[in-house]
């Protein structure tokens, strides 16, 4: 069908313009099953014009040639092309209903391509138009907001979830398939412009064929390929994205300089800094204000001098400095050109892509060039050979810094630091040691010991170069129409070299050399040779797989169709890492000098003692899989569809006993196209299909192995290798198993004004890897076993509606997803329930609770007299923070619910008028909570960990009515801070609605344009991350990003054209 559409499309393109004679063709278009007329169907002639059917399905069209082809199409129906001759009588053209436009297309499971209407499982297909709506350089990011996948941004690395969680300790990411095999390389290697479509496999009937790695769902990426007998086409895609600097003012972990200085004064008066100020051993960092206060105390400066200086500091805002000197707007450029075409026996697709990205951190850049070719041959009518090749070369530079870290025990810089003076000259800032100490510590023997962040960025030389080659080869031989055999192989090799070169001018190198310098009478001895330090990491990944597969299909007229496949697959992935450090390295002449690693050196000025780090590390892992799989689909009258699939996996990760057992993954599914039944006469709901499936899939935890008991390592104190017992042998170690029941319905209302699908599912994940506490006297206190269970249920709803279908067209797509997870069995329970209070980023496996449940200490408000936080201990208000933070039962904690939304989705409205199109995507997430970062006085004093809440702290009686932020007290009390930080007072509701993106596009040439050299061309503007429209929390925090700064606004201007 697809080919047909395409051919007719091509034919339409080459419209003739010569009129010879006028012939009239008359006909009627009717529905194949209901025999009712179809109004509004498009009738077009290959060599002529086009028209529409009237309300009674009749049409009349003038034609110029005797022999022509007539193309008939209508929304919600399959297309038809037929030959017409001069003698053609009145035509009755029957169109066959399809449920939705989407279902015309073919889905790819990685093992087979099949029309979606024949599926019994829950598939979600994202075609290239949807994929190209957004402009991210990373293909997976483009799925956000247009699919049922939930993207979690609250963790440093965004996480993807298809239908919630099905594991506790193993990988939570879906399996990613590129064409036919799991993709292990860097996802940035895949150029989005080269992608034809993506299929999500959500339930067991869809994914169980992927077996032991499919438990989290599967994302199948299908690359573009040529088609036989197709004209050559050249396509060009370009896009430029500009992203604003991140809004540092949205970060809560900051205090303005005045507040910070107030806190420092408070602590100084209490004597908190005395130890640091008198420390002559390791010379800890002391902030400039504390230095001033100390100088005032010693009478070195006057009160006025002190106040003037503090006044000056109070005006500085480090965030402005950061934005000015560390950040810039980021610019991403994407270019892709491709050529595709085909003859009788060969077709090809060749794509070339080039991306460059100037990252928002000054000093960070990345480049990528990508060549993708796919050539298919048919040397014999029943033999097809496929050859694919993807080469990627990428280079990333990471010299930027997102903030300045003072070092020592301080993780954040005081807010009145200055990176450059008024004239823009870079300045030294506090680093690792007290400022005054590094002025004179060297006594003329050492390298400059100052830290200048802006110079450091300029001197840094950190690059990662990546080469990736992926080769695909496939042979398919057809013995007959019904039987063919195919062998497919794929090999991918990634070679990555990371260079972290610390030039001798970098602080990193100077500091290390200085520390390891020793005074020997009147001279010095360098224990780290003078020169740069080079860390070089070689990472190699080789993954290969080969698959043999038999495909069989047969049919007997109308009444049944059978298609089956079976095969075997072998896969292996070798990952190898080598890390080497070289001291005294000179990048210009490639020389180095050795250092001695096993001597304990006294550091300069007795700052401490230590060993020189050898910095070498080697690792080698080899994961192997052998799998057998089969899939059978049986269709009766094309109305009743039954599918069965099975798969057996063995792996060198599993225990021996597991590999020996025949314990396959399987699925069974059925579908009933009710609307195809003769008795079905509904005109309200002309398209209706029911689906149901049940089956299993798995998940594994790489790095865990059923066999080994000891692990080798290197030691440089004694120069011999060592080993340690890591886990007892576990011959029963096996994959985690997830059983999914899915019930679905696909429907289309009259004239398809409303269509969509609804899938309800329940999942039971069993044998989940879980740490089980054992008697520590055995030598280990926790053992990872297949011990826990998890259940989830939810639904995925997709609705498409055509609200207005005139000159102005208005379409709406609604996605609504619901998911609820529950831990049904868990062994790992800490005695101290304080171990379960969290930010909700980690999984808290408590039986009977949501795995992402947010637990908090119960909050009883602030003490009106002191501003102390109060909790409940045995039902009474208490300030015993030690006991409050070590609860012994869950009753002492309150549970707010999940930190993951139970309802989320999107509403996308698309308006089109002539060549213009505007779409607006609004996202929403409901039913979840998050914990905001809160003020911790202990962290403030110790590591300068700030929080803007300081300004709202309790200061006098009565404040407790307006604030929950405790008073500042001395001595500092970490338990008190901890109690407040993880209490109910810092929990916020997460519900929010956001304007995800807006896209405006303009078709420069119409698809049927007469311009020969260009088929169609489009320019578009795409704006993303437009901010929250509504949020339940009053603190102005974007709940989807938790403690991180929300993704900044970005704007893309793009152009694409087909020639």
């Amino acid at each position: 069908m697809k080919k047909l559409i395409f051919l007719s499309f091509l034919l339409l393109m080459s419209v003739g313009v010569v009129y010879s004679q006028q012939l009239v063709l008359v006909g009627k278009v009717i529905d194949d099953s209901t025999q009712k007329p179809i109004p509004g169907a498009t009738i077009s002639l290959e060599k002529g014009r086009y028209t529409y059917t009237d309300h009674a399905g009749n049409f009349k069209i003038n034609r110029k040639y005797d022999n022509d082809s007539l193309h008939v199409s209508a929304v919600g129906y399959g297309e038809v092309t037929l030959k017409v001759q001069s003698s053609s009588p009145n035509l009755i053209i029957k169109l066959r209903a399809t449920y939705t436009q989407l279902e015309d297309v073919v889905i790819n499971t990685g093992y087979q391509q099949l029309p979606k209407e024949r599926a019994t499982g829950s598939f979600e297909l994202i075609d290239k138009n949807s994929l190209n709506r957004s402009a991210s350089a990373d293909i997976i990011s483009r799925l956000e907001g247009i699919t049922s996948i939930y993207f979690n941004h609250a963790t440093q690395q965004k996480q993807l979830f298809i239908r919630g969680l099905s594991t506790l300790n193993a990988n939570t990411e879906p399996l990613i398939i590129l064409d036919n095999f799991p993709y292990e390389g860097n996802l940035l290697n895949i150029d989005p412009s080269d992608i034809e479509h993506i299929t999500l496999l959500r339930d067991a009937a869809a994914s169980s064929i992927w077996g032991a790695k499919a438990g989290n769902g599967v994302i199948v990426i299908t690359t573009k390929r040529g088609k036989y007998n197709q004209q050559s086409r050249f396509q060009l895609n370009t896009a430029i994205t500009i992203e604003s600097k991140p809004d540092l003012f949205k970060a809560r972990n900051y205090m303005n300089s005045g507040d910070f200085i107030a806190a420092e004064k408070f602590l100084f008066d209490k004597g908190y800094y005395n130890a640091d100020l008198s420390n002559t051993r390791n010379r800890p960092v002391v902030s400039p204000v504390v230095e001033l206060l100390n100088q005032r105390k010693a009478g070195i400066i006057t009160e006025t001098e002190l106040n003037n200086k503090i006044e000056e500091y109070s005006k500085i805002d480090l965030r402005k400095q950061y934005l000015k000197y560390l950040y810039r707007p980021s610019v991403t450029q994407q270019y892709n050109a491709s050529l595709t075409g085909g003859g009788n026996a060969v077709n090809y697709f060749i794509g070339f892509g080039y991306d460059s990205k100037i990252t928002s951190l000054k000093g960070n850049e990345s480049y990528k060039a990508n060549l993708n070719s796919q050539i298919n041959l048919k040397p014999l009518p029943n033999l097809e050979i496929e050859m694919g090749f993807i080469y990627t070369k990428a280079s990333d530079t990471y010299n930027g810094m997102d903030r300045v870290v003072p070092g020592g025990s301080k993780s954040f810089m005081y807010p009145y630091a200055q990176l450059a003076d008024k004239d823009g000259n870079s300045l030294n800032v506090l680093k690792d040691y007290r400022m005054g100490y590094t002025d004179t510590a060297g006594k003329g023997y050492l390298l400059n010991w100052k830290y200048n962040p802006l110079e450091e960025i300029a001197n840094s030389d950190n690059t990662i170069n990546r080469n990736d080659i992926l080769i695909k080869l496939g042979v398919r031989y057809s013995f007959s129409k019904s039987l063919d055999v195919e062998i497919k192989g794929q090999m991918e090799k990634t070679a990555e070299i990371s260079n972290y070169y610390y030039d001798v001018n970098t602080y990193y190198a100077r500091n290390l050399i200085n520390r390891f310098t020793q005074r020997v009478e009147s001279a010095v001895q360098l224990n780290i040779p003078m020169g740069g330090i080079l860390d070089r990491v070689y990472s190699n990944l080789l993954s290969s797989g080969i698959r043999g597969q038999l495909n069989y299909s047969t049919k007997s007229g109308e009444w049944y169709q059978l298609s089956a496949l079976a095969g075997m697959e072998i896969r292996g992935t070798i990952a190898e890492d080598q890390r080497i450090r070289t001291y005294g390295y000179d990048n210009d002449v490639l020389t180095f000098s050795p250092a001695t690693y096993n001597t304990v050196y006294t550091l300069w000025d007795k700052l401490g003692s230590g060993l020189i780090e050898p910095g070498a590390n080697f690792s080698y892992t080899n994961n192997r899989y052998v799998s057998y799989f089969s899939n059978v689909a049986f269709r009766v009258f094309d109305k009743y569809i039954f599918t069965v699939s099975g798969r057996k996996d063995a792996s060198n990760l599993f225990g021996v006993k597991t590999n020996q057992k025949w314990n396959p993954f399987w699925s069974a599914g059925a579908a009933w196209k009710i609307s195809d039944e003769k008795f079905y006469q509904s005109t309200m709901l002309p398209k209706l299909k029911l689906r149901a499936s049940y089956g299993t899939s798995g998940n594994i935890l790489p790095g865990l192995s059923g066999k080994p008991v000891i692990s080798y390592g290197s030691n440089y104190i004694i120069s011999v290798p060592y080993a340690s017992a890591i886990s007892p042998a576990n011959p029963f170690l096996r994959w985690e198993e997830t059983a999914t029941l899915n019930v679905g319905i696909d429907f289309g209302l009259k004239n398809n004004w409303l269509s969509g699908s609804f899938d309800y599912y329940t999942k039971k994940s069993t044998d989940l890897f879980s740490y089980v506490p054992v008697d520590p006297t055995l030598g280990t206190s926790l053992i990872m076993l297949n011990a826990a269970n998890l259940s989830s249920k939810g639904f995925n709803l997709r609705l498409n509606s055509i609200n207005i279908n005139r000159k102005i067209k208005w379409e709406t797509t609604l996605l609504l997803n619901h998911v609820k997870n529950l831990v049904t069995k868990s062994f790992n329970e800490f005695a101290n329930k304080g171990g379960y209070v969290s930010f909700g980023y980690t999984i808290t496996p408590i039986e009977g609770k949501d795995p992402y449940a947010l637990l908090s200490y119960k909050w009883a408000g602030l003490d009106p007299l002191t501003g102390d936080p109060q909790g409940y201990l045995n039902g009474r208000i208490s300030k015993d923070y030690v006991s409050l933070t070590r609860p012994t039962s869950f009753d002492q904690l309150s549970i707010q619910g999940s930190s993951r939304p139970s309802f989320y989705g999107n509403i996308m409205n698309t308006f089109s008028y002539k060549r213009l199109s505007l779409s607006v995507n609004i996202g929403y997430a409901f039913g979840f909570y998050f914990r905001r970062t809160a003020l911790n006085y202990y962290a403030l004093a110790r590591s300068w960990g700030m929080n803007q809440e300081f300004a709202e702290r309790w200061q006098k009686s009565g404040d407790e009515l307006n604030t929950n932020v405790p008073s500042m007290v001395y001595p500092l009390n970490p338990s008190r801070d901890n109690f407040y930080n993880y209490s109910e007072a810092t929990i916020e509701k997460g519900d929010n609605i956001r304007l995800r993106d807006i896209r405006f596009s303009c078709q420069l040439f119409q698809k049927n344009s007469k311009t020969k050299w260009v088929n169609d061309a489009e320019v578009f503007i795409y704006a993303q991350n437009l901010g929250l429209l509504w949020t339940a929390n009053k603190s102005g925090i974007d709940p989807d990003f938790g403690t991180y700064i929300p993704s900044p606004f970005n704007l893309t201007i793009g152009f694409k054209a087909n020639f």
Binding site: N279, V626, N652, A723, S724, A725, G779, T780
Partner: protein
């Protein structure tokens, strides 16, 4: 359905092709086992060879640097100011103030991890047939395993079991001994007598199997086994046996570092694996054990004479205007306190045993041998004693002065508390509150981890 079947019968070439495919698949099936035998990670293997067993025992981080420092955290060699006490984490603070609910669970876990690793090494060796050509290596590995088991159990017994008294030990609870790596055997507490006997036996076996010297300084030798045995018997009050063991150890190794050759200006005057060390091991560091944080007991510091070089080699003024200890025998002040075996301690054990056995002169000879190496050359006047009691008193005072932050003071407080002549009551002051720890207090014994009690049901210590 008919057609479905006929497809197979009509086309002849299926009959040729299908068996071929089946054959190919079958061939792959048989090679699968081999394919799947590949190790998933090169660093990870099943222990089967002597090399594996040796590597297990060469785990320096576990066997040589991961012992408890609970005793050092709790003993009377140092004190903290209120500011420091208030800043301590709860577990350190509870140890310092001898609180009832002091929790030291991690230490138990690590000690038994040491025992498990040693046991696996021993079981690995025992499965390998003994070959004449490698019997030295074989014995050395087995001996090392015995040594480490005894060494770790000694620590467990000192922290998690009652103070040993030969009269009552048969009726008191000791510790689980874990003689096998089999995790299905339930742990249970042996009697205190069995515990100490088992510890001594491990060292006796080790002393027979271990080599005289080792090319790798972290591995135990025969001398280490004897030294550990001397230590064990000392805490069992078996002075004659302790004397014999100490004597055997000193026969093999008796080098003392002359402090006159050391440089007091160095951050640490010692180097790692120095000549005086018989077996190197350190304990876990703790906030209150960094020399800049605490102050050495002022009376203790004052007890070092002017010409006693330990005064300058051991101590330096710190930020609290008190004295910190800077002479970790491990050579690295950032390691936890040294708690290994060294010639000085063994010499002191021999001296003490001799004094207790009535051999005053020999006892004082040993003490003077040690002190001569500690004093400024030419200034040392040998100590003398008028009676065994006098000798014992002097030796015990010098023992305390020599072994600073060596993990022994807490154990000494435990054993000497039984003898009213040497028993002391410890006093701490914190935020104006006075804390005391009397001799033989149940606070000298720590709580067994709750997880152990919960799972095995064994009896908890009273504290």
């Amino acid at each position: 359905m008919k057609k479905f079947l006929s497809d197979f019968t009509l086309h002849k070439y299926y009959q040729k092709v299908l068996p071929l495919l089946v054959l190919v698949l079958a061939a792959q099936l048989t090679s699968c086992k081999k394919f799947l035998d590949e190790k998933p990670d090169k660093n990870i293997i099943v222990a089967t060879t002597l090399k594996d067993a040796q590597a297990l025992l060469d785990n320096y981080n576990l066997f040589n640097s991961f012992y408890p420092s609970i005793g050092d955290q709790s003993d009377d060699n140092f004190f903290l100011n209120d500011e420091t006490i208030n800043a301590l984490s709860l577990s350190y603070k509870n140890n310092y103030l001898w609180e009832k609910d002091a929790i030291n669970e991690f230490e138990w876990n690590v000690l038994y991890e040491i025992i498990l690793n040693a046991t696996i090494a021993q079981e690995t060796v025992e499965k390998i047939p003994k070959d004449r050509s490698d019997s030295i290596l074989y014995n050395s590995i087995e001996g090392t395993a015995f040594f480490y088991r005894g060494y770790a159990l000694f620590q467990v017994a000192q922290y998690y079991a009652d103070i040993y008294d030969s009269v009552t030990a048969g009726g008191k609870l000791g510790i689980p001994l874990r003689k096998s790596s089999d995790g299905t055997i339930m742990s249970k507490r042996s009697t205190l007598a069995e515990t100490w006997e088992h510890i001594a036996n491990n060292f006796i076996k080790a002393s027979r199997l271990l080599p005289l010297t080792s090319p790798i300084p972290s591995r135990p030798t025969k001398a280490a086994a004897w030294a550990a045995l001397a230590r064990t018997y000392l805490y069992m009050d078996k002075y004659q046996l302790a004397y014999k063991a100490a004597d055997s150890a000193l026969y093999l190794k008796s080098t003392l570092i002359n402090f006159n050759t050391l440089d007091s200006t160095l951050a640490n005057p010692f180097t790692r694996f120095n000549d005086e060390v018989i077996f190197p091991s350190t304990s876990m560091s703790a906030t209150q054990l960094y020399s800049s944080v605490y102050s050495i007991d002022t009376t203790l510091y004052a007890s070092y004479e002017k010409n006693d070089l330990r005064r300058v080699m051991y101590f330096e003024l710190n930020d609290n205007k008190g004295y910190g200890f800077k002479a970790n025998l491990d050579g690295d002040n950032y390691s936890g306190p040294f708690n290994g075996l060294a010639v000085d301690e063994i010499l002191l054990i021999r001296a003490e045993c001799l004094a207790r056995m009535g051999a005053v002169d020999k006892a004082m000879d040993d003490l003077n041998t040690l002190l001569r190496s500690r004093w400024k050359a030419g200034y040392f006047i040998p100590f003398s004693a008028s009676s065994p009691e006098d000798a014992l008193n002097t030796i015990l005072i010098e023992r305390r002065k020599e072994l600073i932050l060596r993990g022994t003071r807490w154990f000494d407080l435990r054993r000497l508390g039984k003898d009213s002549k040497h028993a002391v009551e410890l006093i701490r002051l914190a935020n104006g509150i006075k804390y005391t720890l009397g001799p033989n207090s149940s606070r000298y014994t720590f709580l067994i981890p709750k997880q152990v009690i919960d799972i095995t049901g064994m009896k908890q210590n009273t504290r």
